[in-house]
């Protein structure tokens, strides 16, 4: 389906990542947001608050992140596409409702413009230290999808993708920006609405009598109904059967939890997005994401100038993790180098996936700035030996 032109600000803009993210949401058909102010993410909802009354929709500033992260889900069940936007401390508060969205299969987007932590940390400075929290932050077994833009243009493009994936898989999608990507201003091209693909809601066409809110047709993603459609359906965060009724028996728990995982894990190849460069014949592959991928690009260039054979793998989707891809590459190279703005998060996934076939070198950084490319270069040189 093509985007509704009302929300699409077609043209070439000079725009920061936060604003581009907002425009991506509007282009994707998002017409409802609930937020709570937090640096460095607030500009996203500030723009949404200014834009949405002109395209038809609503924004509400809630009393805290707990409220914002569940209000948006009420909006989804009333028929809207919806998102919320936050940063580290707010992201921590939203964890329970990421679990609720996963459990109730509420399609929605959580934007986290990452800053330095732990706790209040570095409100105005970047980090990439919420990557594991994005995957594991809520209790219980579940899967989410996480995307990592590295430019304002991608903040626009991938926000649309985030909404589309949320609808396709009925899953909360984590949009993992960082302070630098959020605040840097670059050229952003917004295409005409008829060139933007948006995924419609998987709304049921079944009769009231035939509709099972959590019944599936083999693809593991149930069809949805909205409040007011006449289906009189029930939604609960308790373990539930196909009717949506609470059922706390072992077989129902097993079936439900495995489906919540498998609907994502069985589609890893379709969901995964990466950017690859000169992996064939490389001795070392630098794996990076978000703003760090742009710093790494410089280090890769310097290494190639020295005659080293260095490939690049940029993770556009961080979760589900492209385990198979890493495993395949590991067989052909000496080592992975993984720079990230944390003390070692995604590097563990790389190391695990490599399964000892290639060495893995972290280039850690506590956050608050970006790497010096020389620091990444040093590790590439070491890894090439």
């Amino acid at each position: 389906m093509k985007a509704d032109p009302k929300g699409v600000l077609t043209g070439t803009h000079f725009m920061d990542g936060d604003h581009a993210c907002c425009e991506g949401a509007l282009a994707a058909g998002c017409r409802f947001a609930a937020g709570y102010p937090i640096t460095p993410s607030t500009e996203v909802v500030e723009r949404f608050a200014a834009r949405v009354p002109k395209v038809g929709g609503a924004f509400i500033q809630m009393e805290d992140e707990l409220a914002a992260s569940i209000t948006l889900q009420g909006g989804v069940w009333a028929g809207a596409k919806a998102f919320t936007v936050t940063s580290g401390p707010g992201f921590s508060l939203m964890m329970e409702h990421i679990g609720y969205a996963a459990m109730t299969e509420t399609p929605c987007v959580f934007v986290d413009v990452q800053r330095g932590g732990p706790s209040t940390g570095l409100p105005t400075l970047p980090a990439q230290a919420d990557m594991m929290q994005a995957k594991w932050g809520s209790h219980g077994d579940y899967e989410i999808i996480a995307l990592c833009p590295n430019s304002p243009q991608e903040c626009f493009d991938l926000t649309i993708k985030a909404f589309n994936l949320a609808e396709e898989y009925r899953v909360p999608v984590m949009f993992m920006m960082d302070e630098v990507v959020g605040h840097m201003t670059e050229k952003v091209v917004i295409p005409p609405a008829d060139q933007i693909e948006v995924t419609p809601r998987k709304h049921t066409h079944k009769s009231v009598a035939d509709y099972l809110p959590y019944g599936t047709n083999g693809d593991m993603v149930p069809e949805m109904a909205h409040a007011g459609d006449g289906y009189n359906f029930h939604v609960t965060g308790l373990t539930h059967d196909e009717r949506g009724y609470p059922n706390m028996t072992l077989p129902v728990q097993d079936r439900m939890v495995r489906r919540l995982q498998n609907k994502i894990l069985s589609a890893v190849d379709r969901i995964t997005m990466t950017e690859e460069e000169q992996i064939e014949g490389a001795d070392v592959v630098v794996v990076s994401y978000g703003i760090t991928s742009r710093v790494a690009q410089r280090a890769i260039g310097l290494a190639r100038d020295r005659g080293l054979r260095v490939g690049k793998l940029r993770l556009i989707t961080a979760w589900p993790f492209p385990e198979k891809k890493i495993r395949e590459i590991a067989k052909k190279i000496k080592a992975f180098v993984v720079p990230e703005l944390n003390l070692g998060q995604m590097v563990r996934e790389v190391e695990r996936s490599a399964g000892g076939q290639a060495k893995t070198f972290a280039v850690s950084h506590a956050g608050g700035g970006v790497h010096n490319p020389e620091d990444i270069l040093k590790v590439i040189v070491e890894a090439s030996r």
Binding site: D4, A34, A67, T71, A78
Partner: protein, 316 residues
């Protein structure tokens, strides 16, 4: 008193059963059954619990108010009362602990045509959800909040709630509660609710009428229902069973419509002031929002009719 109460709760038509025998009962239709998910019976509530009684009054209010059921959504939080969402045959949402009000806010804002009821307990709404309660009242979101107040955290085994009266004994205050309790009508009135009433589960008709009346109001309505928990509150406090609770409510309740909410705080054994305390007009959140956008944006304001997502075309 109990006979007439039972008649009111259980039945239905005037058929007495005596004159026409069992066969006659086959034709008796319980008027509230249409609102319930009969396939989920038996429910989880204890004998003597008042929550089912409140659901009966709620269902009768739906009949009385002639509200369109298709546009009615019910949202609960967590706890014994939180289970109401699972038993009503409506679009119903059993959300997270304390967050029924913000979830309901999202429903209402994204689809203003919905009538949204929040049905939850005192701990859920006033402790973990207390911040949302006061802010929804302040904003005057058009929600009907039914707060079943059993004076305790019941689902988890009888711990102290913000509403537990001074001197009662609970599992977390085994030597007696010493912290002051919340006067919920006073709290929500101060925060901005347009309609505030309190009844007990003895006042089934009055409760029903209040709920129906709240449906006719636009804005944040709050109805507190004092309800027995024989298993965890009364037993521990030697206050008898469900029937004793009814006697207690009958004896101690005093109807005082319009009573200043500052005077309706509860004690363990004292008077229970019931009635309609607040009924006033204030523009609700969405009315104010629309007016503000219209004033500031003029013709560039687009009303949120387009807020619903576009759906896939219906297959033939």
């Amino acid at each position: 008193m109990t006979d007439s109460l039972n008649n009111d709760l259980l039945n239905t038509d005037s058929c007495s059963g005596d004159s026409c025998g069992d066969s006659c009962l086959d034709d008796v239709v319980n008027p509230v059954e249409q609102f319930l998910r009969s396939d989920r019976v038996p429910h989880i509530w204890c004998p003597g619990c008042g929550i089912g009684t409140t659901v009966n009054s709620f269902a009768r209010a739906l009949i009385e108010s002639k509200i369109e059921l298709g546009s009615l959504a019910l949202v609960s939080g967590i706890g014994c009362t939180g289970r109401v969402a699972g038993y009503v045959k409506l679009d119903s949402f059993h959300t997270t602990h304390g967050r029924a009000i913000p979830f309901a806010t999202g429903l209402k804002l994204a689809n203003p045509k919905l009538n949204v009821v929040v049905y939850s307990g005192d701990g859920d709404l006033s402790a973990i959800g207390g911040n949302h309660l006061i802010h929804a009242a302040r904003r005057n979101i058009d929600l009907k909040v039914i707060c079943v107040n059993n004076l305790i955290y019941a689902m988890t085994g009888g711990q102290t709630a913000p509403t537990t009266p001074d001197h009662s004994t609970t599992s977390t205050n085994p030597y007696g509660v010493f912290e002051p309790s919340f006067n919920l009508p006073h709290l929500v009135e101060a925060a901005g609710a347009v309609y505030v009433a309190r009844w007990t589960t003895y006042h089934v008709k009055q409760l029903s009428r209040s709920i129906a009346e709240a449906f006719s109001k636009k804005g944040f309505s709050f109805i507190e229902v004092i309800s027995p928990c024989p298993t965890l509150y009364q037993r521990r406090n030697k206050m008898g069973d469900g029937l004793d609770a009814m006697k207690f409510y009958k004896e101690k309740s005093k109807v005082k419509h319009g009573c200043p909410t500052s005077e309706v705080g509860m004690t363990m054994t004292g008077e229970i002031i019931v009635g309609k305390f607040v009924d006033r007009e204030r523009p609700d959140y969405q009315t104010m929002m629309r007016a503000q956008y219209q004033e500031s944006l003029g013709d560039s304001f687009v009303d949120q009719s387009s807020v619903q997502v576009q759906e896939e075309p219906v297959c033939s």
